[in-house]
Amino acid sequence: MMWLWTGTALACAVCGGNDTEATRKAFIDTTIFMSLFPLGAMGGVGIWIWRRSQQVDLDEAHPHAD
């Protein structure tokens, strides 16, 4: 890849990175973030939809209640 598409390979943040403690920490931190973020986001949306469905059911059961 480095031979065929040098520009593309160098654009990759991880390719050619220094093997320092800061780089290792950044890599681990972003791996954790990228793993947990979609789960948290989807879970949050799922909980919001569930709570909203409960509220809609409640509103329809008692249409005149404030």
Partner: protein, 199 residues
């Protein structure tokens, strides 16, 4: 003839819907799914940027123009104010739809001001010699800020469409909700990008 069922007898009558209205309107659900995918796009950018940043001892690299932190902080406030105005427009819309037009227009005007300020900033940085090819820092700066600006322009388009529908009397609550949601997304995303890219 007895024992033979007609087509009428075989017809399955669907049960009545459990709810008279959907829990989440389609326009809103579509916007949420789009926001989730775009969040992952920006999360990828930020992750790559963080690793690039960790690879070099001094960031931003020495000899490159500094990013205008103070000016951008002011434009960040402008964008946040725009989000607050649209939130207010959403609040008043349920009680008095006509009263929502003015805060909607003000929110759009502030969003436009933000994009114009970003444009001016880019022109100044390019004139100072900071281009996409200058360094990884510059490349990430133009990529992240540019993609966000495209989202702001998209959000402004959606907002403008809602204003047009409001004027024509065809605006519906679901469409307005979806447009607001997307605007909150671009507004709340920006301080995170500002913190990661500028500071």
């Amino acid at each position: 003839m007895a024992g033979i069922m007609s087509e009428h007898d075989l017809r399955i009558v669907p049960p009545p819907p459990r709810r008279s209205k959907p829990v989440v309107p389609n326009q809103v659900l579509g916007t949420i799914i789009f926001m989730l995918t775009e969040s992952m796009l920006f999360a990828g950018f930020i992750s790559a940027y963080t690793i690039s940043k960790a690879n070099v001892p001094v960031w931003p690299p020495v000899g490159q123009p500094r990013l205008p932190i103070e000016t951008t902080a002011a434009t960040t406030l402008v964008l946040l104010l725009s989000g607050a105005l649209l939130w207010y427009a959403g609040r008043v819309y349920s009680k008095d739809p006509d009263a929502a037009r003015r805060p909607m227009l003000a929110a759009g005007a502030l969003g436009t001001l933000f994009v114009l300020a970003q444009g001016v900033e880019w022109v100044q940085l390019l004139a100072a010699g900071l281009t996409v090819q200058t360094s990884a820092h510059a490349g990430f700066f133009y990529l992240i800020v540019g993609v966000h600006a495209l989202h702001v322009i998209g959000g402004l388009g959606a907002l403008l469409l809602q204003v047009r529908r409001h004027v024509g009397g065809t605006m519906n609550a679901d469409g307005f909700w979806a447009a607001r949601l997307f605007w909150y997304f671009v507004v709340l995303l920006w301080p995170v990008l500002y913190w990661k890219v500028y500071l």
